[in-house]
């Protein structure tokens, strides 16, 4: 399956978007103690080591908690679901949740990272951001 890349990453420091339409959230891994961080850090909060490498996080995680946001800033159309997903590397990352009815979202659901259009740059070009969707619904 070929996917057309929608546009540049909305935040290249945090989300890598590749030309084949795939992408990953980015963070730091401490080469001294193995701790992972999102977003990229300049030193490790565990051991204060500065020998960090930038790593791509897994795209599969577990929903820690969620809400349905019904009042937000003008930049976001409400309502939308928002959640924290725990990834196996040991990081918890916030994102919007799509592909599921609001009342079917549940703590502990397996979630998958998906790339989606996410706003526009200053010149009006579409940007690519990320959202989470339930893993079992991700079979299309």
């Amino acid at each position: 399956m070929t996917t057309t890349v929608i546009g540049e990453s909305f935040r290249p420091g945090e989300l890598e978007v590749r030309s084949d339409g795939t992408g990953n959230l980015l963070g730091s891994k401490c080469r001294s103690c193995g701790a992972h961080f999102f977003p990229i850090r300049q030193a490790c909060a565990g051991c204060l080591g500065q020998d960090l490498e930038t790593v791509k996080f897994s795209t599969e995680g577990t929903l820690y908690t969620y809400t349905i946001v019904r009042q937000s800033t003008p930049a976001f159309e409400v309502p939308y679901a928002l959640g924290y997903v725990d990834f196996p590397e040991g990081v918890r990352i916030m994102g919007q949740i799509v592909g599921v009815e609001f009342d079917e979202i549940a703590i502990g659901m397996p979630m998958t990272l998906v790339l989606e259009p996410f706003g526009k740059d200053e010149d009006g070009n579409a940007l690519t951001g990320y959202r989470f969707r339930p893993a079992e619904a991700d079979n299309d």
Partner: protein, 380 residues
Amino acid sequence: MTDVHVVGVGMTRFGKHPDSDATDLGAAALLEAVADAGIDPRIIEAAYVGHVFQGMVTGQRILAQVGLAGLPLANVENACSSGATAIREASLAIRAGENDVVVAIGTEHLTTRFSGALTPDPSDPEAAVGATMPGVYAMRATRYMEEYGMTREQLALIPVKNKANAAANPLAHFRKEITVADVLESRPIADPLRLHDCSPITDGAAAVIVMSDTAAKKYANGRGVRLAASTLRSGSVDVEPTSMTYEPLTWATAKEAYEKSGIGPDEVDFAEVHDCFSIAEVLRVEGLGLFEQGSYPWAVERGEANIDGRLPINPSGGLLGKGHPLGGTGVAQVVELVRQLRGEAGDRQIEGVRVGLAHCRGGKAVGIEGAACTVQILIR
């Protein structure tokens, strides 16, 4: 080393002030604190002024308005803990022996800066994907309900309690009692939180004058209240995901205050805590060690946190009832503590109190549990 004494307090009405700004409000609070202390304002040696969205040198504008320009002054920004941080700075100046009389002011004219949901700074990765402050607390509420079985109705008892307290506070933003049904029928903001679960957008200011032992002996006339501890911490980076139903930052800040004051959590008679949202009050009092983890919703149900309860929480009405002018909030908490400890709290007076605790916690940044947390312990 000298102790620190709160000798004068002042506070504007909290609410909407369309005809004044953060400078006017701060100046009014300062003048009231000076009058309350009964001092010549010329003995004030330094000022710390907390505010968040009021722009550069708001503190200097306040002092210029009351003829006190020229003092050493620092403007302090630490999100919702800005005012409390200003008090801590003032207390450090006293303890260090640098000053004998210092004023801390907190002010905010929030109605002209914000409407609707507050968000983290737009540069933050979580703000970029749609985080709002109510949204973050709503997620903590979702998780707390799952872990401890708290019901939506139990959570509603917190705004009901705090707005009943606010109804007895002439300076509060809200003066009307509400019911559980009012909470459950109010506009949804971020599930499960509704409008009555959220602190309002409020204008207001407060000021406290703190003194050394030497100055208090001379000026306090027996009305001083000892600021036995004023602690501040910033959130640490999570090395791995941690529980969002517990607050290590609040506990760390409180533990230091308990150690410094020699007062344990079981000796606290009442507290003003940072109830920016209903769920926040649960997380705060448990984080402070005032109630056991996972127990507070049931304690509220039993009336333990009411003004006539075992351990009254937010007798002023808290942020939910009194209002939340960011910079003003932490200073107003200490004003309430002083008034309660002096027996000047009118219809909301708690009987026989000796030790009060104030807790502020504010700000959100990706990857840290919380941004700025303060705890103050006052002893009569």
